[in-house]
Amino acid sequence: MSAVDELIARINYLNIESDKRKIYNKLKTSIIFANTRGNPDIFLLSLTLGFKYNKRKKLKKSSNLFRVNELGKDIWIPLSIGYKVLGDLSIFETKEGVVMALKICEEYANCGIDILNGMMKKPKEFTDDIIREIIKEDVL
């Protein structure tokens, strides 16, 4: 068990807004997410989109989406975003810190999922647009 695993060991689930579950369910059936881990990847994508566009919203009625440990190594993404937002290293020291960071991430994902859902209305262009964006920014 890694140190991060120890840290999140007693944190069970990542949550979403209850109303948004149907979006998750719909997106899971898309060919784009056919061979992904499903909910964890959709959540991460929603989180990073919300973070990218700096949009977050508190959850009114939270609902368990998946176990935190399903993220595996990708736990560093919500933790880093949490640190980036809070600027406090304590999130790496205690469970409370981690929970705080994840809560922020849930709020980003809460907005990010809508952005993702919007992008996915044109699934053929979705991948190409993303690739174009990645390559333009990172390579070109």
Binding site: S2, A3, V4, E6, L7, I31, I32, F33, A34, N35, T36, D41, L44, L45, L47, T48, L49, F51, K52, K73, D74, W76, I77, L79, S80, I81, Y83, K84, L89, F92, E93, T94, T127, I130, I131, E133, I134, I135, E137, D138, V139
Partner: protein, 658 residues
């Protein structure tokens, strides 16, 4: 046939050579020849000599076990020298001597101190005969003289031709049934019939052995042949059908081939195959594209996530780096030691710290064992993991590009293939591709059908050949069995004929036997009445079915065993003369002492009637002077052809013939 001469050499009392007795056989009315002699003078010896000459043994004397050679001759023969006993009899027919039969026996004189005179036989008898030839110009040897004698006077019934009157009763004393039956059978010449029956039985047995065993399955062979025929017909019909079908299929195939040639089937086929190949390739490429797209999606999503969180990750990494490299980064001190130091108000670096200061708070946190350790580990892990995560974005972008290129290649290939397929479709435009395909399939099916039909034809031909072979085998077996059955039938028919003949022969034999028996019975009864003075006391003389003789008195009592010597002699003579008359054997009758036990009254009757009963046959009677009484002489005188006297010469010790 009449006995005309007997010559006796050195036979018992007949000493010397050339002792000859000649009978007058020329007078056809006088057929009785008398030999008169006193008792113990040589009558029985003479009778025996005749019997010995014919059969090689004596029949009527107690002396049979002793040597037949004359004792006088033996005594006059030198020790170890040889002497010869010889008897010759001559039989005449109406032309004179017909047969001459001679038996000789040679003896060697012994030097026997006890018996004085004795001799033993050396070598077998010399037995020979002569027969007058057909032209009466000379005599020829008789071949197989034993057989000749047996046919002339069978030994079995010799006792009815050469007999001792005084011993006649003995004929009826033992084995009477067998002897009478045997006698009657011989008299009736039944032997040949018996032989025939025996031979027929042998033949029948031989036929039974010749009968061949018929296969018990014989009756089923025809049904097997029929079954084979039926199956051959069935297979032939199927073969015809198969051949016809093959012909039709070949025609169909030719038509299809012609159609396919006319419709450029080869080109169409080639293009269709090409089209098929390209379609398959397109399917593969399409699948490859899909796989790549899926991979691309995954890669893109994970890259995009990193891409979007790259700054946050980078910032965290930067901070961790700073922490790990900073001198403030707490050394690896045990939390328990930190607690000890805090109690003393010292930092782990040795400086004093104030109560409630930030330093004290941080140290307090560090003294929390769990948080402290986790914190250290998280930072260390982050320093290791985060660069990897950030750096992998670049390689992922490369991969994305590669996969994207692959997808593009796939799409390009698919487009090219689409064009090729369009080209092929263009080429095939106007040709009835579907019809050609159908015809081609039809042709392939027809080819397969022809192949199957050909196999069926071969199979049917083989079956027919096997069945014909089996049928041939059955027919061959049937023929063999039929021949056997026919042969058996013939043999059975022969066997049945044999059995039939046996039955006929038995029937004939029984009829003859009965006829002869009845005649003998009647004649015996009649003769007995003529010969015996008191015959009227006997109610009935009969021969029963089992050939036993029976004499019953007027009270129907059986008295055969109670007959007096005289009555028994009369009965014997009556039976003998009856038997003799029906025998058909043309030989003389020689009777020794015919009336020895008969009183005067009966003697006259016998003298009167016996010659009549034996009419036509030569009769030689051996009588004593006492038998040859005046009454007897008077009655017989006119019938006597010759009289020979035997006299014993006491001085010489030998029998003299006069």
């Amino acid at each position: 046939m009449k006995l005309s001469k007997i010559t006796i050499d050195n036979y018992r009392g007949f000493y010397g050579e050339g002792n000859t007795i000649e009978f007058n056989v020329d007078d056809s009315k006088k057929k009785i020849n008398l030999i008169i002699a006193r008792n113990d003078t040589g009558k029985t010896t003479l009778l025996n000599s005749i019997y010995w000459c014919l059969y090689g043994e004596e029949q009527f004397s107690d002396k049979r076990s002793k040597s037949i050679a004359s004792n006088k001759k033996i005594s006059k023969t030198q020790i170890n020298a040889r002497l010869r006993v010889k008897v010759t009899i001559v039989l005449n027919d109406e032309k004179g001597p017909k047969y001459t039969i001679t038996r000789e026996r040679t003896f060697t004189r012994h030097d026997d101190a006890e018996s004085g005179t004795s001799a033993s036989q050396c070598g077998p008898d010399n037995f020979y005969g002569l027969e007058r030839n057909e032209n009466s110009t000379g005599f020829d040897p008789i071949e197989h003289l034993d057989v000749f004698i047996e046919s002339m006077i069978p030994k079995g019934i010799s006792s009815f031709f050469i007999l001792d009157g005084e011993q006649l009763k003995a004929i009826f004393s033992s084995d009477i049934n067998y002897k009478i039956k045997d006698s009657i059978e011989k008299v009736a010449n039944i032997t040949s019939l018996n032989n025939m029956i025996a031979n027929l039985k042998l033949l029948d047995r031989k036929y039974s052995q010749e009968t061949k065993k018929i296969d018990p399955e014989y009756s089923k062979i025809q049904s097997r042949i029929d079954e084979c025929d039926e199956r051959i017909d069935e297979k032939q019909n199927k073969l015809k059908e198969a051949i016809a079908k093959t012909e039709d299929l070949r025609k169909q195939l030719n038509e299809l081939s012609e159609f396919l040639i006319d419709h450029s089937e080869a080109t169409i086929r080639r293009l269709s195959l090409e089209e098929e190949r390209i379609k398959k390739e397109s399917e593969r490429v399409n699948q490859e594209r899909k796989d790549n797209e899926t991979e691309l999606s995954n890669m893109t999503i994970s890259s995009y996530v990193i891409h979007n969180s790259k700054d946050a990750l980078g910032e965290t990494l930067k901070k961790f780096d700073e922490l790990s490299k900073s001198p403030d980064f707490p050394p690896a001190v045990e939390p328990s030691e930190v607690k000890q130091l805090l109690k003393k108000g010292e930092c782990i670096c040795g400086t004093k710290i104030k109560n409630g200061s930030d330093e004290e708070k941080r140290l307090l946190r560090l003294s929390d064992a769990r948080s402290y350790k986790t914190y250290l580990k998280v930072v260390s892990l982050g320093v290791a993991v985060l660069p990897e995560m950030i750096d992998c974005l670049e390689s992922k972008i490369k991969d994305i590009k590669n996969v994207k290129r692959k997808i593009n290649d796939c799409e390009k290939t698919l487009q090219e293939n689409e064009k090729v397929i369009e080209g092929i479709a263009q080429e095939l435009k106007g040709s009835d591709k579907e019809e050609v395909r159908k015809k081609r399939e039809e042709k392939e099916t027809t080819d397969r059908d022809i192949l199957r039909s050909g196999s069926l034809i071969v199979e049917l031909k083989r079956d027919i050949s096997d069945l014909e072979e089996a049928k041939k085998e059955c027919e061959a077996k049937q023929t063999t069995e039929k021949i056997k059955a026919m042969k058996n039938q013939i043999i059975i028919q022969k066997s049945e004929k044999c059995k039939q003949f046996i039955e006929y022969a038995k029937e004939i034999k029984e009829t003859i036997l009965k006829t002869i028996k009845d005649k003998i019975e009647d004649t015996t009864a009649q003769n007995f009445i003529e010969l015996h003075w008191k015959a009227e006391d006997y109610e009935r003389v009969s021969i029963s079915d089992d050939f036993s003789l029976s004499v019953k008195d007027r009270y129907e009592g059986e008295i055969i065993n109670e007959l007096s010597q005289g009555a028994a002699l009369c009965f014997g003579l009556a039976f003998m003369s009856a038997l003799r008359n029906y025998s058909g054997y043309d030989v003389p009758i020689i009777i020794d002492s015919p009336v020895g036990k008969i009183d005067e009254g009966n003697r006259e009757k016998i003298a009167n009637n016996l010659p009549n009963q034996l009419e036509g046959k030569q009769v030689i009677l051996f009588v004593t002077n006492a038998e040859y009484t005046s009454v007897f002489k008077e009655v017989l005188e006119k019938k006597i052809a010759s009289i020979v006297n035997l006299i014993y010469d006491k001085e010489k010790g030998e029998v003299v013939i006069e």
